[in-house]
Chain length 437, copies 2
């Protein structure tokens, strides 16, 4: 990790540190475009072809009901998944919103109701190992929101099967089916629908650059689909207080670094923090990791910044807008009000990022790459949309109508005015015109 | 308007009626791409060049503080804008959410707080007439959400000036500045920022196909910007009860039709509705309209569907997923629960769409083109994002830690497990280990 002193840096240097590595989006898009077109035009056959080509497996059937998959899991594994699902369920259910009703002026009532997005496609990355935690983070809120058709897509294992942990979560969340495919071909199949896969209204989930590029391409396409949020490489920013335990800090940095060589790991230290001990601990803890090579390569482009005080440290963090922010500080809770941009925040020495990654109850699908400035992580809201309603009584129309007529005039929209005028004329023309109803 | 009988149509025919006209997105994108690149690279000079080229006006200054614009408005106009702003403010303020805090299990607390998106760019279309109502619908919620830097962009009038009604709303909503430009060049200037325009984190607002294409292109670009929602031609679906007044229905259809020749206007009638009288009323009301040609051309590709009962009518409406839905029915309010997809709904004979377009309090920036299936209209939420927080006590970590260790094992992520293990080891190794805190 490179080491900087915050006070020695000028604004331009700080800006450069906060900038994530450039993504060559255009070239990835060029690669996924033909895959998307082929899936749109040839459906299942194209998905199977690309799965054979990229994953080296035959998938039959391509799309399977979760209940048809025999699930062999140890009791401890089941219990761990159940606990994670219960906590995520609890936190997300509390996000539900009742009907809102406001009388904005006498006789004019406005309402808002929430409705589930009916058909959702959840992408669960595979690769080196299945990621049942992503199935939990997307499947549980989708079910809580009342989505009608929940589809999972995940790369099959080398025997062409769905990993049991993912099948288990799919069963528990009432998913209608699992598409055994990954990459851009899986995303395209959910967006357009195929002979066996029903089309989704919205597509969720993290993935590699091909998955992300496919999602971004499709949200601007004739597929008429929306996406959760753009996803880049995962990242953490840790603020270590003077008395923070270097072993804890090292473990947190490493748990982010093991996600991939492109993971972003940033440490901001306050006066008194033992940086020497941290270096030692990083070295010794890395030795035991199965992904030590990935970790070392992620740490190579990571950095440490020494700050003079918490105000400067938070200013840097807000500028960076990290996906994950760990505040390993005694007074972490008192700083909530100062956090302006972050995906999810971990407060105090006993709250490693892993808790939120798996089971605290918050969602781990979060904005990366600085997108925390304008995107929220996935929440119950992500699986719903709102519809507004309004109703005017005759009296309400008589009060608000002339205002609307004037505004329509100002915009030169005659028919908009007329829609009010024809009504007012009839109301006023009636001898028994109500005024109070 | 073409006329159909719902019961005579098969699913495929219904599907075709619900489909919007195809958009040739690729060719529009090809046109806006060079504009966006020029603005990114050359800033103000490029914006001025395109404004000269497309709008035929010189703009100096390009970016102006609202307070520096003298506003001449009649008292009635001011009052109308004030009333609209107050109603929109009331309904949107009620959408604010407090901090959510949930103890998902003993010792594990999850929270969610809302934060404003700090820099927002609001596009206010111009063209034949200024649209202060869009300034109200975007400026008022932006201010209510606490956005720090609110920028308006709107095409200048033929003297290169900002229309006074828009300047007035900008002043009242505390906007930092108004960019006197329209089209893709205005959107690009807000996305990347220029010498005079500060960059926005999120861009809002309806516009023509160039504006929409620019927004969609930019949300997938290095500009790091998000957008409110994709916008297509405006549309209404009216359900007319048997005793609905044909003059009211005609006025509502016309007020949608006058938006543009590409407006979508759909009428679903219930038994008893006087379709002959409607045809008459459409003809006679159209005669008085200044935009009669636009209206006739919009009506040419519009249609009427006769339904046998309200259940069928609502099923058709949910399939169509209209931006605006007018329920001109006696029991409109009792049907709220049956509306699954729509942008905004107008209940009863006294609630023409114009009320919501201007001043009832709901937002008029709504999903078109069938996007109501997965997008909400603009709301207070659109100007905010959420950040989640979690905190484990030592006792909480001891309960949840083993679950997280197991899940990390299942995913083969050693360092994720280790971040818990190093902490549990130290807690357990301490003779005075707390268990209750």
């Amino acid at each position: 990790m490179k080491e900087y002193v915050l006070n020695d840096l000028d604004d331009e240097q700080i800006g450069r540190l906060c900038k994530r590595p450039g993504m060559d989006f255009a070239s990835v898009l060029d690669q996924v475009r033909p895959i998307i077109r082929a899936v749109r035009d040839d459906g299942d056959a194209a998905v199977k072809k690309f799965t054979r080509m990229y994953d080296g497996v035959e998938t039959e059937p391509l799309f399977i009901e979760p209940d048809k998959i025999p699930v062999h899991l140890a009791d401890e594994e089941r219990h761990a998944l159940d606990t994670a699902m219960r906590n995520v369920q609890r936190f997300h259910m509390e996000q539900a919103r009742g009907e809102l009703q406001v009388e904005t002026m006498p006789g004019i009532t406005c309402r808002r109701v929430m409705r589930p997005i009916e058909n959702v496609g959840l992408y669960i990355p595979g690769g080196s190992a299945p990621l049942p935690s992503t199935a939990v983070m997307l499947g549980v809120p989708a079910a809580a929101a009342g989505c009608k058709t929940i589809i999972f897509a995940t790369p099959p294992d080398k025997n062409g099967q769905v990993p049991p942990s993912i099948a288990y979560v799919a069963q528990k969340t009432g998913a209608a089916g699992i598409l055994k495919a990954g990459g851009a071909q899986a995303v395209a199949a959910m967006a357009y629908g195929t002979e066996s896969v029903p089309p989704a209204d919205k597509i969720f989930g993290p993935g590699n650059q091909y998955v992300t590029a496919a999602k971004m391409f499709l949200q601007n396409s004739d597929a008429m689909v929306s996406i959760d949020l753009p996803a880049g490489p995962s990242e953490v920013l840790v603020i270590a207080g003077g008395n923070a335990d270097p072993d804890f800090i090292a473990a947190d940095l490493l748990s982010q670094a093991e996600h991939g060589a492109d993971s972003q790991v940033v440490l901001v230290t306050l006066p008194g923090f033992d940086l020497d001990q941290l270096r030692e601990s990083l070295k010794s803890q890395t030795r035991d990791l199965s992904r030590a090579d990935i970790v070392r390569s992620a740490l190579d482009h990571s950095f440490t910044v020494t700050a003079e005080n918490i105000t400067d440290a938070l200013a840097f963090s807000n500028k960076y807008a990290p996906e994950h922010l760990i505040l390993n500080l005694d007074n972490a809770e008192s700083l909530i009000g100062s956090i302006r941009h972050a995906g999810s925040v971990f407060l105090g020495a006993c709250t490693p990022e892993s808790l939120g990654d798996y089971a605290s109850g918050t969602n781990h699908t979060l904005p990366t790459y600085g997108y925390a400035r304008m995107y929220s992580g996935v929440s119950l809201d992500s699986f719903q949309k709102s519809i507004t309603f309004q109703k005017a009584t005759e009296a309400g129309l008589q009060t608000l109508g002339p205002v609307v007529e004037k505004l329509a005039d100002m915009e030169g929209l005659d028919a908009h005015r007329q829609a009010v005028s024809v009504r007012l004329k009839k109301i006023r023309g009636r001898p028994d015109s109500e005024t109070g109803k």
